[in-house]
Subunit: 280 residues, 2 copies
């Protein structure tokens, strides 16, 4: 089987490394010639080009561009495809992408490998990035079972944990555990900058330790990525933010009213609820 990869960044590059080591022939496309040259030099693709037509012989193509470029990329790709070619994407939001691509290409399967790192770009690509990570596939009623099985088979070879759900279920779930944390965490960093007394701000910066480091991590991440999440999953992110604000207000009210027993109940509930979300 010949596999095509469009977008040779962290995800696309890491897919290329693993799939080549599985014995597949991997063809890579990047907008930037320099990225193609790097991919060839690193030996993570059999061939690379800035031209989508390179992918004409591919049986399965992973679209690993930024979310905002996926639809336009597919439209340019269509003339080069054989009817049996299976397309899948790696966007962190699914409903809007699946809605846009389902009508364009019957053999499309929405996908989301939940395997980010702080780094990005082909230099950050690594082997086994997807091992034991969740990889969500979001078929619809129209998705051909053979197309779904083709993608699922390859994803299992990456040793990822495969999940199947509807695009809407995926987006609602990741709004809670992936997109809401970014806004919550960014708000924390922004609030600290609010401190008007430079002596206090500097002291806060010096005294900050692991608690602040962890709580602020995703809020200090890639701004474009944060915007994409909010933009393409807007409804679910706003829904999660509304619920979050409600609970934040409840906690604040406990402190205002010195209702310490209720505050302790709330904190005991969060202490008990958290382990269900922690796997490693």
């Amino acid at each position: 089987m010949i596999i095509g990869i469009i977008g040779l960044g962290l995800i696309g590059g890491s897919l290329a490394i693993d799939l080549r080591s599985q014995g597949y022939s991997v063809l890579g496309v990047s907008r930037r010639m320099q990225t193609c040259e790097t991919a060839l030099r690193l030996g993570i693709v059999n061939d690379a080009s800035t031209e989508l037509r390179l992918l004409a012989p591919a049986n399965l193509i992973f679209i690993c561009t930024p979310i905002s470029d996926i639809q336009a990329t597919v439209i340019q790709l269509l003339p080069h495809l054989a009817p049996t070619t299976v397309l899948t994407d790696v966007g962190s939001v699914k409903t809007s992408i699946v809605k846009a691509l389902d009508p364009l290409w019957p053999n499309f399967v929405g996908g989301h490998p939940m395997a980010g790192t702080a780094e990005s770009g082909i230099e950050a690509a690594q082997a086994d990035l997807f091992v034991n990570r969740a990889y969500v596939l979001t078929p619809t009623a129209k998705t051909p079972p053979t197309a779904l099985e083709t993608v699922a088979h390859v994803v299992r070879l990456l040793r990822a944990k495969v999940f199947f759900c509807r695009p809407e279920e995926h987006d609602r779930a990741v709004a809670w555990i992936s997109h809401l944390p970014v806004v919550v965490s960014a708000g924390l960093i922004a609030a600290c900058q609010h401190e008007a007394d430079p002596t206090i701000l500097e002291l806060a910066q010096q005294l900050a330790s692991s608690g602040f480091r962890d709580t602020s991590r995703v809020g200090g991440g890639n701004p474009q990525l944060g915007v994409m999440m909010a933009r393409f999953n807007r409804e679910d992110v706003l829904r999660s933010l509304a619920a979050y604000r409600q609970h934040l207000d409840q906690l604040t009210t406990c402190i205002e009213q010195e209702n310490w027993a209720t505050l302790e109940d709330h904190l005991r509930q969060t202490q008990q609820a958290r382990p269900k979300f922690i796997h490693e």
Copy 2:
């Protein structure tokens, strides 16, 4: 020099281990006989008792009880002290403690070693817990320089980074980087529980990875500790929460109004601000 430690938990026990290995004679007091026996069995104290009078010969005493017990403990301790004995505490809030203890004992120096772990109790005590961690001392105009120098000298032997500031400065700074994150993070866990559809909640729990794990960590911690922070640093925590909510609302408004350029500006600012708080 003879050092007394009241409260042989994570902090008190770890202080005992390091100070004994520095060659000091360490006397430990715990409310629970079993803890005294454990401390003696582990050899982390020279002597231990449930009776405060054991500390009569001590030149320097660390009060390592929960914040809520510090004042009562000192009042019971006073009859046993020589006028030259220096007292210090390890409470994570300083203004209220210093206000309460300054009038009771002239040779008192407020302190806060910023070295917690997920564990607690004497079993969690460990050598070198304070190495390279911040250790804040909060003298007042009334603090005798000799008392401050005595505590600072011992703290430096722990290889902690010593900071000096006013109690009010400490409390305002830690409200931002230590207390606010607990409420922000607890709110995130609580909000996720808000999901009414059990299928979505279960999917969210399964898909949660490092981003959620880190952002939710301090919100899933010890409930009593969270309440103590809010209770004894109430004004500053509420002040930080008010600022936090303002910034959360700004971010939410950007998403509601699809003002993506402004959202990206906010996220770029948080990305640039975070490194100033990160040392390790």
